[in-house]
């Protein structure tokens, strides 16, 4: 587990950490005894943050994968 974490880049570690924090907060707020408007707003916002970081992370990974493929082709030549 630690070795896996060490192999990841710092950006990836931060992204996973933020997703974990916002996702956990989203779950906690959803079951918290708060007034509905406040709960709905907080859950929607936290879910938005979590999903946003996830999608941006995927875009970043896709970009890295694409550039790695281009490097492979260049090396092949």
């Amino acid at each position: 587990m630690l070795a896996t974490l060490q192999r990841m880049t710092q950006q990836t570690r931060i992204q996973y950490g933020l997703m974990l924090v916002f996702g956990a907060l989203c779950i906690l707020v959803a079951v918290a005894p708060l007034a509905d408007p406040l709960r709905i707003t907080a859950v929607g916002t936290l879910f938005g943050f979590t999903a946003g970081i996830w999608v941006s992370h995927l875009v970043q990974v896709l970009g890295r994968a694409a550039s790695a493929t281009q490097t492979d082709v260049a090396m092949g030549d």
Partner: protein
């Protein structure tokens, strides 16, 4: 805690760590090193179910439905990204990188110089270093240090190739340099390194490694004698050959000379194919003319470009 206890403790903890890493290794991060498409989709699916259940059970109707649609959209988007990443070979590449790193880290420590994948071709004794590598391994309690890695890799190449062994032997000799720095001058390890280097040099610099161990002439009574004593008689010659090199088709040629140094007779004897490290004794009848003053025995390869080894 004694040193022995600490040793056992460290072995147990390393075994625990190995089990731990195997178990947790299965739960790889979605897009981290070693991720696969299967683990990616599985975790995305689990997270989707958790969020949908959370929204449906905790939030009122219109909002829960809207957020559920949002979760499904993110899941569909993730699946699209997963397909794109798979198309780019991202998952396979990550897996290969991890696998190669793992295989290099977990090379069998007992006898790393024994090939495991390809069938090995027999090595000539001159470049068979199994005994020396065992001795090195014993010096390090069976776990050879890092500077040995290039040497072991090239030695495995040497064992699984027969065509370009001279080139690999040159590489192997260069690989001895980092190994040599591990030992003090005059130590057992240093002596072994020098021996390996000398044997590799002999292998590289000499084309054939056929050796004439013994040539002897016998008279009709079976008594050993000199070639000049067999004056105008039928005698017998025995030739002992050793092959320290590669598999070779060998023939021995016994040439007789007169006092002026001119060849007056010769006898060729086919030894057939001699395996690396094998020894063979040939025996054949030979008529020795009256004016024979000297004899010379030559070994040559049966192949057209055969090299010779004189005795």
């Amino acid at each position: 805690m004694s040193q022995h206890d600490r040793l056992i403790d460290s072995q147990e903890s390393s075994a625990d760590r190995a089990t731990d890493s195997t178990f947790l290794g299965g739960i790889e991060f979605l897009t981290g090193p070693g991720a696969t498409l299967g683990s990616f989709l599985l975790v995305v699916g689990i997270v989707t179910c958790v969020f949908i259940a959370l929204f449906q059970f905790t939030l009122p109707a219109p909002v829960s439905d809207l957020l559920t649609v949002g979760v499904v959209l993110v899941t569909a988007l993730s699946a699209g990204f997963a397909a794109a990443l798979e198309k780019l070979g991202y998952f396979g590449r990550e897996q290969e990188t991890t696998a190669s790193a793992t295989s290099s880290d977990h090379r069998p420590a007992a006898k790393p110089w024994v090939p495991t994948e390809k069938s090995s071709a027999p090595l000539p004794p001159i470049i068979n270093f199994d005994a020396e590598l065992r001795a090195f391994a014993d010096m390090y309690d069976g776990d050879l240090p890092r500077p040995f890695d290039p040497f072991i890799e090239d030695y495995l190449r040497l064992k699984t190739n027969t065509e370009n062994r001279a080139t690999i032997a040159s590489d192997l000799r260069a690989d001895l340099n980092p190994v040599g720095t591990l030992f003090e001058v005059g130590s057992e390890g240093d002596r072994l390194c020098e021996e390996l280097s000398d044997r590799l040099f002999r292998y590289i610099s000499t084309r054939t490694h056929l050796r004439l161990d013994r040539v002897a002439f016998y008279d009709e009574a079976g008594e050993e004698t000199t070639v000049t004593a067999l004056d105008d008689q039928l005698g017998r010659v025995t030739v002992a050959i050793a092959n320290d090199g590669e598999l070779a088709d060998v023939e021995a040629v016994v040439t007789l000379y007169d006092g002026a140094g001119s060849a007056i007779a010769s006898r060729t004897c086919d030894a057939g194919r001699i395996k690396p490290g094998a020894r063979m004794t040939l025996s054949t009848d030979i008529f020795v003319p009256a004016d024979t003053a000297d004899a010379d025995t030559t070994l040559r390869l049966s192949a057209p470009d055969g090299a010779t080894a004189d005795a």
